[in-house]
């Protein structure tokens, strides 16, 4: 593959993760964190940002070493690289935002097995130069974060009557308990996918 790419192509690689190939609404990868931790906007944001950082690190590293990683053990190598960054993020969150870290619990270590990250490493970073891989990871990571955040905002507003823990409706609000439970995650994701598909159809 040619190492020289135009800036237009760069832009396209970056943008496709945000909308055209959004990891959640279009590719539907990484559903585990999408369902499990999007019950509040803060949790969604923390999960999205953590995934973004891990994705950036692992995609760049995989792309850097793509010519020396033996084909037979490439998945193992990717996982080791990803796990390294996840461990870093795990400690960082525990030190900086212990509350959020506690809330996310096992789902931070579980970023290791997020198919989105492995998928980008295998499908993109392993075949493309470092710069492009970085852009791809940035676009995909931001797309992932924005999608999680939109689900988290809807679920928190309806399920707890607050946004980023700031109460919106005051006392007497009737929380929709279902929205903070897993079914609420599925419902919200379904409705958002419906909306995204509709918009896409309109454009096409």
């Amino acid at each position: 593959m040619s190492e020289q790419v135009s800036s237009g192509q760069n832009m396209a690689v970056f943008l496709k993760g945000l909308w055209e190939e959004n990891p959640i609404f279009v590719i539907v990868l990484g559903m585990c964190p999408t369902m499990a931790v999007t019950n509040t906007a803060i949790n969604s944001l923390a999960m999205g940002m953590s995934t973004l950082v891990v994705l950036l690190g692992s995609s760049t590293l995989v792309s850097l070493f793509r010519k020396v990683i033996p084909d037979q053990v490439r998945i193992t190598t990717y996982i080791v690289i990803i796990a390294t960054f996840v461990t870093v993020i795990d400690f960082l969150l525990a030190a900086l935002v212990p509350d959020v870290h506690k809330e996310l619990g096992a789902f931070i270590p579980l970023i290791v097995v997020n198919c989105l990250i492995l998928g980008r490493a295998e499908a993109f970073a392993a075949r493309n130069p470092v710069g492009l891989s970085f852009l791809d990871a940035l676009g995909m990571g931001l797309g992932f974060t924005l999608a999680l955040l939109s689900i988290g905002i809807i679920r928190e507003v309806l399920g707890s009557g607050s946004l980023f823990t700031i109460s919106l409706f005051g006392k007497g609000f009737e929380p929709w308990v279902i929205m903070v439970l897993p079914p609420g995650g599925f419902l919200t994701l379904g409705f958002l996918m419906l909306g995204v598909n509709r918009l896409k159809k309109k454009k096409a």
Partner: protein, 328 residues
């Protein structure tokens, strides 16, 4: 296709048994049931019912690709009425309306409209409300002959809890039995003088409506009979073992939503199996799950979950009980 041209197989006898006709007949059979609800709970029952029905009809009209054509078959009306019958009288009207929207939107339209849905739409709405507002949906007012005043949190503003108009609430017979071992008098349950959802109180009228629907061949008798048998027989065994601990079979049949579920919800033609054998399996499954939940489960009532679970199993039952093709 022209409206006047109907294509069917022989014999070409004239029997006006069309979907709308069946649906509207069910609607008429529900009128006495609503009469009982209005008699016991007055204005609040009327308001809760109207809100649920409005939620269903408006959503059907809004999401129907044929712009309101689907309203004519009466199925949205039935969904609204059945949903209303399993809501408590003091329920906030906005929640009732929302339940109607969920019932039609998520229970029916999203699957492709009438005939395509897997789950009973009214129960989908009820299940949504149950898991969204667990407190409001388990707060029951006493039937105390106040006709003209709203009850409980009927008038809460949308998204708000509202303050209860009165504090006189009661437990349903099932909850009393489960948590306090206090059986309600059978006669009270038969005529409906107990706390409960709108359609769960008067057992007598439900039984009569059920007999009418079975006689008109709108309801397949196998489903209610299978459900009742599967509830009565295990309960009878338990009752004979320890009458102090377990409720009597008569109590189990008359309490809660069992009759309503067995006659109106489980018999939904779309979501029940096709073959006679399948209907038996379906009904017995519901009855057993009801007994399991009521006697050993954490909830006092389990008819809704029992029917929804067996709805999910219906395609499987259809496949397992397929009739042998002639000559095969």
């Amino acid at each position: 296709m022209s409206e006047r041209l109907s294509i069917s197989t022989s014999p070409f006898l004239h029997a006006p048994s069309t979907t709308p006709r069946i649906m509207w007949e069910v609607v008429f059979s529900l009128i006495p049931v609503f009469g009982a609800a209005f008699y016991y709970f007055g204005l609040s029952a009327v308001l809760v019912s109207l809100a649920a029905i409005a939620g269903c009809l408006i959503t059907e009209w809004w999401l129907d690709p044929r712009h309101g054509e689907a309203l004519k078959d009466g199925s949205a009306m039935i969904t609204g009425m059945l949903l209303a019958l399993c809501l408590p009288p003091g329920f906030p009207l906005w929640m009732s309306f929302l339940g109607g929207m969920v019932a039609i939107g998520l229970g029916k339209i999203i699957w492709g409209g009438l005939g395509q849905n897997i789950f009973n739409p009214a129960l989908v709405g009820r299940a949504f409300l149950q898991s969204a507002f667990p407190t409001a949906i388990t707060t029951w007012d006493l039937p105390d002959g106040r006709y003209l005043s709203p009850r409980g949190t009927n008038l809460a503003l949308p998204l708000w809890q509202g303050t209860p108009v009165d504090a006189v609430t009661t437990a349903t017979p099932l909850a009393k039995m489960k948590f306090d071992h206090d059986p309600t008098r059978l006669w009270d349950m038969l005529i409906g003088n107990t706390g409960g959802s709108l359609g769960e109180t008067c057992a007598l009228i439900l039984i009569l409506a059920g007999i009418y629907l079975i006689a008109r061949k709108i309801v397949n008798w196998r489903i209610p009979v299978a459900i009742l048998l599967a509830v009565v027989l295990p309960t009878l065994v338990l009752y004979l073992i320890d009458p102090q601990k377990y409720p009597s079979p008569a109590f189990m049949v008359l309490a809660g939503g069992l009759l309503l579920g067995a006659i109106y919800m489980a018999t939904d033609m779309v979501t029940s199996p096709l073959t006679p054998k399948g209907l038996w399996v379906f009904g017995i499954g519901i009855g057993i799950i009801v007994v399991l939940i009521r006697v050993w489960g954490g909830l006092p009532e389990g008819v809704m979950y029992a029917i929804l679970l067996m709805n999910a199993a219906t395609p499987l039952i259809n496949r397992a009980t397929r009739n042998r093709v002639y000559g095969h």
